[in-house]
């Protein structure tokens, strides 16, 4: 096992990784920008190294600085967390070339799934159902023909995309031309790659994803699915497991399909296959070859520590158990607490004046906040995750509501009030929602305040 691990990230996920390391007896090295000198992940780590100024490109995305820090701190491995360099195959390659272990999949698997078109093609070949759409990057003329063939509305997506960037819904042929131009521009700006592809637009699908854990030595298990359909602008806000939309047979079928595909490509590490679920069918959209923000939801219903397992398999240990050893118990839900205004969604960086996290039975809080902490304006607005577990979906929901009523974050605006409203909505209570539900809910609030 590793003696010392460098955590190449910040915020709650850096803290999450630190906790797993600490519990495994592994020393931690935090890296940080000057904006995060007093951050929780820096305070709690065994060692810390300042790697650059606040802009992420000069610090958390600065590969040379991170590798230099790993060298001078003499670590065994680097955990990339999520976001930043977590899905950068080039970084994974460099880490290995410098003699450190990259805590993640092989660079080849990262690269395969990083190209969204290649990933769809690979999945289709492995027997995983995908959304009907173009087989590859399209020129503008080809796009028009293709869109007409699969029928409007269609969705334009960036080949190198993710996080909703470069994504455009097009309802009719006359809108296509302009939408293509904007999408290419966004794709270029965000991913330095103007490639786009087209998919059939599914009107009211659910976002359902399967959590995979594999040791690269033959053992591949799934930890069930997560329903992440409560989204705004393709950003997940609330996740839960199991999905209230699936019966046991359906959930087992999709999980088995995903597990089998990962077994066939010889995947190692943790990963998530994302699907749109509509009209009783699953359509693969992409795979994330890293830890995900919503991983605690799966941890709570299985009792498995995903980060610990991720570190173990990266160190070459076999899983030591199979699918039959994974027991699912109860229901879990996660609220993403963002430093943003609950209605306008404007970011709200600043100093946290009061901080009091909820506790008690079935409640988990993953957050790097504390009284006096500063939320810098330079990074993602996610500042806390509130996760509840209960024996039934309704017990879980009531517990989450109870915990939301105890949570105090002062000095910055947060979306706590949005969560308090959403968790009590009759549609949410009934589990009746799709990926456009939250946008509709917000729009109805705006017109009928």
């Amino acid at each position: 096992m590793f003696a010392k691990v460098l955590i190449a990230n910040r915020g709650e996920i850096a803290l999450r990784i630190h906790r797993a390391c600490r519990e495994m007896g592994i020393a931690t090295v935090a890296v940080h920008s000057t904006a995060d000198a007093d951050a929780m992940h820096v305070r709690l780590a065994d060692e810390s190294v300042c790697i650059g100024p606040p802009p992420a490109r000069d610090s958390y995305l600065n590969m040379a600085a991170i590798l230099s820090a790993a060298t001078i701190a003499n670590v065994d491995a680097i955990h990339p967390g999520l976001g930043f360099l977590a899905e950068n195959a080039g970084f994974a390659q460099m880490v290995e070339e410098h003699g450190f272990t990259f805590i993640g999949p092989t660079p080849a698997h990262i690269a395969m799934m990083g190209d969204k078109i290649a990933a769809k093609r690979a999945m289709r070949a492995l027997g995983v159902p995908v959304v009907p759409g173009s087989e590859g990057s399209l020129a503008d003329e080809a796009a028009a023909g293709f869109a007409a063939e699969i029928g409007f509305p269609v969705l334009i997506k960036a080949a190198a995309g993710g996080g909703g960037k470069g994504m455009r819904r097009v309802d009719s042929p006359d809108m296509l031309d302009q939408a293509l131009r904007i999408a290419r521009q966004e794709a270029m700006a965000n991913f330095a790659n103007p490639g786009i592809y087209i998919e059939r637009f599914l009107a009211t699908p659910r976002h359902i994803e399967v959590q995979i854990l594999a040791d690269g030595q033959g053992a591949v298990v799934h930890l069930g699915e997560r329903d992440c359909s409560i989204q705004r602008r393709y950003q997940k806000i609330i996740e839960e497991a199991p999905s209230p939309a699936l019966d046991d047979q359906t959930r087992q079928a999709v999980a088995r399909t995903a597990t089998e595909a990962m077994r066939r490509i010889g995947y190692r590490g943790i990963g998530t296959l994302e699907f749109l679920y509509a009209d009783g069918g699953f359509h693969f959209i992409e795979m994330n070859t890293r830890l995900q923000v919503e991983h605690p939801v799966s941890e709570l219903i299985t009792g498995i520590d995903l980060v610990r397992e991720q570190i173990r398999v990266a160190a070459g240990e076999p899983l030591g158990y199979g699918q039959g050893d994974i027991h699912f118990s109860g229901h879990a839900m996660e609220c993403r607490i963002n430093a943003e205004h609950p209605l306008t969604f404007l970011p709200s960086p600043g100093r946290v004046s009061d901080y009091h996290a909820p506790g008690g039975p079935g409640i988990r809080v993953d957050s790097a906040l504390y009284s006096g902490a500063v939320v810098p304006p330079d990074y993602d607005s996610l500042v806390a995750k509130l996760i509840a577990h209960g024996r039934t979906r309704e017990a879980c929901r009531m517990r989450l509501m109870r915990a939301l009523s105890e949570y105090v974050i002062g000095g910055i605006a947060t979306n706590l009030d949005l969560h308090r409203a959403l968790i009590g909505e009759p549609d949410f209570v009934a589990g009746r929602y799709d990926i456009n539900w939250l946008e509709r809910w917000i729009a109805s609030r705006a017109t009928h305040p």
Binding site: V49, C50, I51, G52, P53, S68, I72
Partner: protein, 141 residues
């Protein structure tokens, strides 16, 4: 000027009253004395900071007007190669743009140049030591 005697007990009593009453501040003047006690601005957290690599360079030095700080994380070398004498000695005159030292990062030797002309007053890092981004390396003024 006569030495000022501090009535420590008075301060302790006021501190206790601050705690008891939950006040933020007490100012008390009597018999030619004026004492003001105030609560700490509330430390962000009581835990100690993780040890950082810049044990040598304090904030004072980093904020010194003549400080030259590390533009990158890496290992510092005071001379052009192991065993070679340092580029400069304390007290040497320095030209703007002159190499002060080297920071090795990713197996690349980066020459760190003087941002201004002056005299090398202090060297704050040891040969072969690791440095963080922003750490004070030397004082040139």
């Amino acid at each position: 000027m006569a030495a000022v005697t501090v009535d420590a007990d008075l301060i302790r009593r006021l501190a206790a009253l601050l705690e008891e009453t939950g006040l933020g501040e007490i100012e008390y003047e009597a018999g030619g004395h004026r004492v003001r006690v105030a609560r700490r601005a509330m430390a962000p957290m009581a835990t100690t900071l993780a040890p950082t690599l810049d044990a040598g360079a304090t904030t004072v030095e980093r904020n010194h007007p003549g400080a030259v700080t590390a533009p990158m994380v890496g290992t510092v070398y005071l001379g052009p190669e192991p065993g070679a004498p340092p580029f400069l000695q304390v007290g040497d005159k320095v030209l703007k743009g002159q190499t002060l030292l080297i920071i090795e990062a990713m197996k690349v030797m980066n020459q760190i140049q003087a941002p201004r002309a002056g005299t090398l007053r202090r060297v704050l890092v040891e040969n072969g030591a690791p440095v963080e981004y922003g750490e004070a390396l030397a004082i040139v003024e």
